[in-house]
Structure formats: structure tokens, C-alpha cells
Symmetry: C2
Subunit: 410 residues, 2 copies
């Protein structure tokens, strides 16, 4: 029999747009013994997690709970539950994850309309609103922070326009939740999906979602009780029920409600991790956390610029937590990434589609977003570029970042 070795993963400095490093408190939480899913101690933990998620999403919504799967499971759950086959859906696309929303909406059977803007920028709210007036969508699906290009789309005016046109606004905040403000209620977002493995710094495996009463009303029209659990309820017609069982939010909310109607078996250890990650977020305080992400971004950008590197994309819509760097002419971006990983234990990311080979993407997210990581990365990247023959302005990057930190503390 083949022998499989003891697990012994190397310690990495993970400066990608996720998954990022996990706080030791969260790692420890996963090592606690499991409870049964209907054990009152466990349902207590479920309820506390919902409370904390409401704070994170800045919402008074009743429903705020994790979907059991990776981030895109949350996106699919919200979309398949809120988009009925034949619905008109508008997806403004400004990067890879906009294409994903288009893709999922199509698989939901929607009539999908897209508008696109060049990668590296985002939409003026007026462009989206004009498209809404033309298309009269039932649903608008929009990425808040696009990690493929490092851009952030302003949302507040879109939320207001969706109310006026009676469309539902679904927002993919996978990359932004816990790192920059996501103001669900103030911006009138009807459904928001967060991710765990980015600014929350919890391992991939859950997707926190929240949705308001407008979204729930649509959901309840499509509600269907599972065979084997059904009483005499009237079931919805052939074409309106949700096409997924696992992702049917009307069933998930029954499981998360005091009724605890059996659905899946909640992921015990992942929920322990999420609860601990949320505690860390709330102990730090949301606004302090956003300020921390901003500070380390500034230090990173100061260092990269001092080194002689140029940033990608429109600076006016730069996403705080992802910094896209143009790979200098003549440098093999993948060789630099490998050198960083193999010799320095540091991971940065490449990109997708049209940006593949053109930019590196550096994340400053959650637990990974800290001074020693930023300084370590700058020093290592400088050395790696030098090693590859790039005429780097040696010794400046780390000093420039230290200047930012000193100015902040001074």
C-alpha cells in the first residue's frame, strides 16, 4: 500500500486576491470537536453567526447566513433563487467575474442583457441606469469589487434606481466584504454575497449572503417544500420553482429559522471558523478594519512606485484590496512569481483572459494585510526583479513604504 505522508504544509506569505492567510484563532476554532447539527449549543452558534453577519453587511435584514459552499455557491444560490426562468437580467461587465454573473444567469434560464466597459475601468452610474431604462430588467446583477482587474464599482445610485424601476439588485461582494465598506441597507442592495477566503480571512468553504424583504417576497412566490418533508401545502407551478434544491434559499432560510426544517447538514467546522473570523472583524471594528486595508494599500503602492513599477487601470476606481501591477517589458511574470514562491515563500497572483501575462495582482486582504507582509513582499519583489535583470531602483521600495507607516503613526 502506498504510504501517504503526514500533512505538513509550508508556511506561506499569501499576497493574492484570495485565498489569503488565516488568523491562528480561526485555524484553532476548526480544531474543536464537532457538535450535532440540531444540538442546542450548535443552533446557538448558528444564531450568533447570523447576528454577526448582519453587522458585517450593515443591514437590518432578517436573513443573513452562510451558504455551504465556496463563494460562487453563494452567488449561484442568490441568482437561481431570485431569477426565474425567462426573467430579464442586466449584467454590467467590467472584468472576469461579470462574465461569471452572465454565465450563471444564463444557466438560470434568464434572458440576459449585458453592457460592457473596458477592463481597467468601471461604469458611471448613469450608464447602468440608462441601460436599465432601455432593458427594464427584473434583476440587475453587479460585481462590487472585481479582483480580475482590481476595480471597484460604486453602487449607491444603482440601488436607488433599482427601487425606482422595481428591479432587484444582486451584488457580488465576495472580494470586498470585510475589507472596504459594503453598506447593504444604505445603498439599497437587495441581495449581497460575500466570500470568506478574502478579506474575512476564513478558509474557502462558506459564502455569507444577505437579502431583504423585497428579495424574500420573490423567493416565497417560488417556494416549494421538499418531497419527504411536505404537508398539504400548495406547491408552485411547473416553471416557477427554483431549479436547485441545494441552493433554494427558501429552504435554506427555513433551516436557519427557529423551525430548523432539515435541509443539508450544516458544515460544523467551517461554521466555527466563520464565527471566529466574524468575532475578529467585530473586535477590530468595521471602520478600523477598512482604514487598515487603506493604509497597507498606500504603503504597498508607495513601495511599488518607488521601485519603478507602474500600476494597471484607472486610479479613480482602484479597489483598495487588490493592486494590479504592470509586468515590465521583457520580464517573464510567471518566472518572477515562481521565484517569489520557491525562494521567499511569498505568493502573488497572475491574471485571467486578456490580462494574462500582462499584470500581477497583489492582494492586501484580511489577516494577510499587515505591515510585515507588505515590507517582506516589497523587499522580495525588488530582489526578484533584480535577479531577472530588471533595472530596479534598489533600496527605495521598503523605505517608501516605511515612510507611509511612519507618517501614519506619527
Amino acid at each position: 500500500m502506498k504510504r501517504y505522508e503526514d500533512l505538513s504544509p509550508s508556511l506561506r506569505c499569501i499576497m493574492t486576491p484570495g485565498p489569503v492567510e488565516v488568523d491562528p484563532r480561526v485555524l484553532r476554532a476548526m480544531s474543536f470537536p464537532v457538535l450535532g447539527q440540531f444540538d442546542p449549543e450548535f443552533t446557538g452558534i448558528m444564531n450568533e453567526t447570523m447576528e454577526m453577519l448582519r453587522e458585517l453587511f450593515a443591514t437590518g435584514n432578517q436573513w443573513a447566513y452562510p451558504v455551504d459552499g465556496t463563494s460562487r455557491s453563494g452567488i449561484e444560490a442568490v441568482m437561481v433563487s431570485l431569477i426565474a426562468p425567462g426573467d430579464r437580467v442586466l449584467v454590467p461587465v467590467y472584468g472576469r467575474f461579470g462574465h461569471l454573473l452572465h454565465e450563471i444567469a444564463e444557466r438560470c434560464g434568464a434572458e440576459v442583457h449585458t453592457i460592457e466597459t473596458g477592463w481597467g475601468s468601471v461604469f458611471e452610474p448613469g450608464e447602468i441606469i440608462a441601460a436599465m431604462k432601455r432593458i427594464r430588467p427584473d434583476v440587475v446583477a453587479l460585481v462590487h469589487g472585481e479582483t480580475s482587474t482590481g476595480r471597484v464599482q460604486p453602487l449607491a445610485e444603482i440601488g436607488q434606481a433599482c427601487r425606482e424601476q422595481d428591479a432587484l439588485l444582486i451584488v457580488d461582494a465576495v472580494a470586498t466584504i470585510g475589507g472596504i465598506p459594503v453598506r447593504t441597507d444604505a445603498w439599497k442592495l437587495d441581495a449581497v454575497v460575500g466570500g470568506t477566503q478574502k478579506c474575512l480571512s476564513v478558509p474557502a468553504g462558506m459564502a455569507p449572503v444577505t437579502y431583504n424583504a423585497r428579495a424574500e417576497a420573490k423567493l416565497l412566490k417560488r417556494k416549494r417544500v421538499e418531497r419527504g418533508l411536505r404537508g398539504g401545502e400548495v406547491q408552485p407551478g411547473e416553471h416557477s420553482f427554483v431549479r436547485s434544491n441545494y441552493f433554494d434559499l427558501s429552504m435554506l432560510q427555513d433551516y436557519w429559522s427557529p423551525a430548523r426544517l432539515n435541509h443539508h447538514t450544516e458544515m460544523t467546522s467551517m461554521l466555527y471558523a466563520l464565527r471566529e473570523g466574524l468575532r475578529l472583524v467585530l473586535e477590530e471594528g468595521l471602520e478600523a478594519r477598512y482604514a487598515r486595508h487603506k493604509l497597507h494599500e498606500q504603503a504597498l503602492v508607495a513601495g511599488l512606485t518607488a521601485m519603478g513599477l507602474a500600476l494597471y487601470g484607472d486610479p479613480d476606481c482602484k479597489l483598495t484590496v487588490v493592486t494590479c501591477v504592470l509586468i515590465p517589458e521583457g520580464i517573464d511574470g510567471e518566472a518572477v512569481r515562481s521565484l517569489l514562491l520557491e525562494h521567499f515563500g511569498i505568493e502573488i497572483a497572475s491574471s485571467f483572459g486578456p490580462l494574462k501575462g500582462l499584470i500581477w495582482r497583489i492582494g492586501t486582504m484580511g489577516f494577510s494585510c499587515r505591515e510585515n507582509n507588505v515590507l517582506r513582499l516589497l523587499g522580495a519583489l525588488e530582489a526578484a526583479l533584480q535577479r531577472h535583470g530588471y533595472p530596479v531602483a534598489c533600496g527605495r521600495a521598503v523605505q517608501a513604504a516605511l515612510d507611509v507607516y511612519e507618517a501614519e503613526s506619527g
Copy 2:
């Protein structure tokens, strides 16, 4: 601000049909720092996990990997990927989870045909084969071990019949994998779904699946490359593509293949847990593990019977890893369960639908399936029944179980 306490779950003795107790080695594996999803160390762990899953499923299939979600996510992934809208699907139902397969097949847009047999028994293979001849299904979906009733359905003849009729056989082995034999290749099962939180004793959160080349051929006909990652490939027509992105196995297998085509972000810590759980299974040895489950079931049954309790259902098709006990006349089953949990720290399960209030379900699964747990439960249950005024034959249950253990070791 509300203060949330340190996580501190009680230590439970979990004798339910899942989730069950987790081996400390698996819990520890989850506390290791995370790696990036494309870090070569991590893709190495992915590959090892696939190798071990092939052994677990007793298959030479190329494809054996976890779906990232709880057990029913694996069931839905296999069904939505292998059942095209309009397909004829036969679901033999002998308990709650057969109804779930019916439910999911309907949501996939299938023309579903069911046959039912009374809860507490299973089908003669001839009954299913006769229905197959009548219905000519494209897919047969069948539960291997039905935890709602504690029954096991023989599969070998059904696999052969599906080959002869060119139907695909999908098997829900969530409750049986790692506890009793699941012989994927020998029984000619086309797609099998396992669960983690039962006989594998890994926390809920992943669903290992395997499928053979017959299943893959159907999958590839429906394959569609994700928008944003697409080259010039021809895409399938309007009605044949898989209705889910997250559960599209043709994309998942590209992610698990050397191509590593980006899809979701693999659940790092859950994969660490699954890998460690599989190592434990293979170190014990599959046949030794099945024998262990059989031994502790015998001891449990001997003890329950000696106590004066009667078992539910047809003994010829009893599922080794779940023992259903009739709640004695006049005893409040939920009050006994609460007493066991609150005073003894032991959890057993109630049941669903027509069996609610009539039976208790006791699991002997994975790490929970051990001598000290069986003896502890028997002693506690005896005391709880006595406390509730049931004329229990005191002192006999534990002795009867010890007799079984002594006979085995002698």
C-alpha cells in the same frame, strides 16, 4: 457592542447517523495554515486525495474528487450534470432520501418515475429491473443506505441491468461509504456520491464523488466552457447545457485535472480534513473497517435487545451503521433524547415523516463507532428509560454487549 464568547463546544458522544465525532487527527489537520489554491504543494494534496478516493470507492475511474459542499451538493452535482432536461429518470423510493432524489431529479427538469416500497424494507432487485423494462429510463437514481429507515439496498444486479438497458446508475452512498462495502466497479455503478460526516468521520463540508467513462461521455456532450475563460470552442445548444455552474462536473473535472482550469476556490482546510480522514481509512484498511462497523453493530443490537427493546424494520436488509429502535409504548422519545444529551452528553437521533416519534435512530459510524461509545450509550439509555418509568431489564444490556466483544477477541 455585544460580546461574543470564546468558542467552547462541549465534548459530545455522537451516536447519530451523522454528523458524528471526528478523529483528533482530522481536527488537527484543519488547524494547519492554508496554502494558495494553485500552490504546487496544494495541487499535490488534491492529487493525493483523488488517489485515496479511488481506493475508497474501489474503482479504477479517472474521476474521483470531492464536490465542495455538504453531501447533498454531491448528489445534486451528479444529478444535474448527468440528467438532461426531459430525460426519463427512475427513482425507487424506500425512505426519505429516495424522496430527495425524486425532488432533485424534478428540479433538473427530468420526467421522473418512481416506484415505492414500504418504509422498513427495500426492493427485490427484480422489482427494480421490471420497472426499468417498463419505463426505459435514461437514468436510475438509487439510495444505497437509507438512514431514515436504517435499510440497505443491494445494488449489484441493478448495475448489471443498467448496462444491459444502457441507463446510467447514480448511487447515493452518503451513509455507507467507509462503513460498509461500496464496490463501484464490481457492481457497475456509473456514478457514486459519498458523504464525509458519517462513516468517514470528517466534518460536513465535502461530498466525494466518482463516475466512470460512460457517465463522462454524457457529461462531455453537455460541456460548456465558462464565459470569461472561453476560447473558440463550439458550445452546446440551448437546452442541453448543465443548468448549474457550480455543480457542472465537466468544469469541476477540468479544475481537478492537470489543466487546473479555474473554477471555484478549493476549500483548503476541508481538503486537509478529507485527506487526513482518508489516510485514517486506508491505514485501518477497508475490509478491517467494515468488520469493525459490523462488530459494534452486533454489540449494540445485543445490548438493546437484552434491555427489552425491539428493533424497527426488516432484519434482512438492516443497514449496519444505523440501528432503528422502536420507542416503547408510553415513552416520550424526545424527552429521553434530551435527557441523554443534557445529562450524559450523548446524542442519538429521532426520525422523519411517518417515523417521527416512533423510532430512535442510533448510528455506529466511523470514529464514533467504538467499544467505549457503545457501552456508554447502552448504560445511559438503560438509565434514561428507567428514569422515564419503563420496566427495563436492568444490568443486562452492557453485559450482553461485553459478551459480544469478548467472543470476538477470544
